[in-house]
């Protein structure tokens, strides 16, 4: 399957060399394919088998059964979990992408302190989500700095008057952490794509009399679209499977699907571990379906525009 296309024939080489040549590509790819194949796909297959009832370690062997999925779908709070997971994943992806494109465009301009800004904005990219969680608690908690500031200004009279931004189902804190971490990520990708493009085509459009908005919409955006699509795919997939942020800043039961999966897995009753596997598979399939639809729509859009 991984056969090389014949390269220029080399005269006077032994048969061993041609064997090596034929095996060159597969051999070079083996370490990567083996690692990802065994660890990543192996894990997915184990989870899949368990979710269908094959778990000899717990003395459960009812493969194949859909019981664990059926139980899942009738579980109280399950569909709220699905909704919350979608909500927390989608809103920051959309809002963050728009803010990132704007930031990347601004970073291309000339202004004082540009070097500093370009250095500083990448900081959240470099540190764990949990630091963002800690910052959110300090800032937006009910006894946090913003609540204290509002009290000092006389806007609120006690901690109870401050809106619950964290530890609530509205998920403001969760989405703020995602935005704080991910705007630098998307901006960096969009900005580097912009840098790679250069400004010739935009300048040409401007010379031909296009307004700023027209230039952006018809010249810049189509060119940075591939970068935007890969960034949004990665960000959405991450948010959809994110565990620690909603675990800490969420509003308790029902929480997002990954949190519910972990709770089921850590339950004293081992048979609940199969439910955890069913949830995890459900997360994978849902997120995969969303991303597949998104990518297919994007391809179709590009084809309609006649790029491919």
């Amino acid at each position: 399957m991984l056969a090389t296309k014949p390269t220029a024939p080399r005269s006077g080489r032994s048969r061993r060399a041609s064997w090596l040549q034929r095996l060159y590509v597969p051999l070079m790819l083996t370490p990567v394919l083996l690692t990802i194949g065994v660890l990543f796909f192996g894990a997915l297959i184990v989870a899949l088998l368990q979710s269908f009832g094959h778990a000899p370690i717990y003395g459960i062997e009812e493969f194949p059964t859909l019981r664990h999925y059926r139980n899942l779908f009738t579980l109280p709070g399950f569909w709220s979990s699905v909704g919350l997971t979608f909500y927390y994943a989608l809103v920051p992806t959309v809002v963050g992408t728009i803010l990132s494109i704007y930031l990347a465009l601004m970073l291309r301009r000339r202004f004082r302190g540009k070097g500093l800004v370009q250095f500083v904005y990448k900081l959240p990219l470099m540190i764990p989500y949990l630091v963002g969680v800690a910052l959110t608690i300090v800032l937006f908690g009910n006894g946090g700095i913003i609540a204290r500031g509002m009290f000092a200004l006389g806007v609120i009279e006690s901690t109870r008057d401050f809106p619950r931004l964290i530890y609530s189902h509205a998920g403001w804190g969760i989405m703020i952490v995602y935005l704080w971490k991910q705007i630098p990520f998307t901006t960096l990708i969009v900005y580097s794509v912009l840098m790679g493009l250069g400004r010739e085509s935009e300048e040409a459009a401007a010379t031909l009399g296009a307004h700023r908005w027209q230039t952006f919409w018809h010249v810049t955006l189509p060119q940075i679209m591939p970068g935007i699509v890969s960034a949004t795919v990665i960000v959405f997939a991450f948010n959809f499977g994110s565990f620690e942020v909603p675990f800490i800043l969420g509003g308790g039961f029902p929480n997002t699907l990954p949190v519910e999966a972990w709770r089921a897995f850590e339950d004293a009753d081992y048979s609940n571990r199969l439910r955890a596997m069913a949830i995890v598979m459900f997360i994978g399939v849902l997120s995969g379906a969303v991303l597949f639809t998104y990518l297919a729509a994007y391809r179709r859009f590009e084809r309609l525009r006649g790029r491919q």
Binding site: A47, S230, I248
Partner: protein, 294 residues
């Protein structure tokens, strides 16, 4: 005459487009404040001993309470062995170093082939290597956990290093592939023509040329590994703590943040800040563009 004036106006307009307007300036300032600003209260919280509602600053600071306290407080506690901060920092660095090394060795050959050869199934391989970025980590995490529990790898360094390869390899392959793509074959072919064997060519010609790219990819892998929480938390099972898992146990209690948690959160930032300074010197932004279909 007219032509010249028109050229002049476009010149001015282009210059005007290039400068940041008032709204843009406001936005960029807001971004900087939003990124750095929250660290100020975190820093204050780490030095607080008593910080009651609704005080804007602590009423009693750590250094005031430090003398009279019987147990280590605040930063003293953070740096005492009881807090496990130094131990976790050591684990984080050790794991990240080994992951970076392994990940580079595994990814280099594949990147070379993906950048230079054309073969059947290439796009399949590329997609295969992309999936770990798209499939939510938790789906992999639980499957690996049950397998590793059976194999006795749960709660071991080996287990953690192995799972860290999953999110690092896709990035590493992409970065290194773009490095090889930017590298002309000419020098290597010349070395071969002049009689150098494949190993000598690799060592004396290829490696020195790809070194900057390998360092960039390595920094990237180190950073990803040292920031991983979920996979370490699942596979480490509390037996092996890294900085992110330690911070998790400090902030997941609910309620406000105590001084020690704030201190740990600040310590957790150190590898990232070092990386930020280093990447500013080593990684060109175009590397990201090439890695992400620019």
């Amino acid at each position: 005459m007219i032509a010249r004036r028109r050229a002049g106006t476009t010149e001015i307009r282009r210059d005007d487009r290039d400068r940041l307007g008032p709204f843009g300036r406001f936005y960029v300032t807001f971004v900087v404040v939003a990124v750095v600003g929250p660290f100020i209260p975190l820093l204050i919280a780490s030095f607080a001993f008593r910080w009651n509602w609704p005080d804007l600053l602590p009423s009693r600071w750590w250094w005031e309470a430090r003398e009279t306290a019987r147990l280590p407080l605040g930063w003293d506690y953070v740096f005492s062995p009881v807090s496990r901060v130094l131990e976790s920092a050591g684990n984080t660095v050790l794991i990240a170093l080994l992951v970076t090394l392994l990940c580079t060795l595994i990814s280099l050959p594949a990147a070379r082939v993906l950048a230079r050869e054309r073969f059947r199934g290439k796009s399949f391989v590329e997609f295969f290597l992309l999936t770990p970025l798209i499939v939510p980590e938790i789906a992999v995490g639980l499957g690996i956990l049950v397998t590793f529990i059976q194999l006795g790898l749960a709660g071991t360094f080996t287990g953690i290093i192995l799972v860290h390869l999953i999110p690092t390899i896709p990035y590493m392959v992409r970065v290194l592939t773009s490095v090889f793509q930017g590298l002309s074959r000419d020098y290597e072919e010349q070395a071969r023509v002049l009689g150098a064997g494949p190993l000598r060519t690799m060592w004396h010609v290829t490696l020195p040329m790809i070194m900057p790219g390998v360092i960039a990819g390595g920094l990237f892998a180190f950073l990803i590994s040292s920031n991983i929480f979920l996979l370490t938390f699942f596979i480490g099972r509390g037996r092996i703590e890294t900085l992110p898992t330690l911070l998790f146990s400090r902030v997941s209690g609910g309620g406000a943040l105590d001084a020690v948690a704030a201190g740990v959160a600040l310590i957790v930032c150190i590898p990232g800040i070092i990386m930020l300074v280093l990447t500013e010197r080593f990684i060109k932004e175009e590397v990201f563009a090439k890695g992400f279909g620019g």
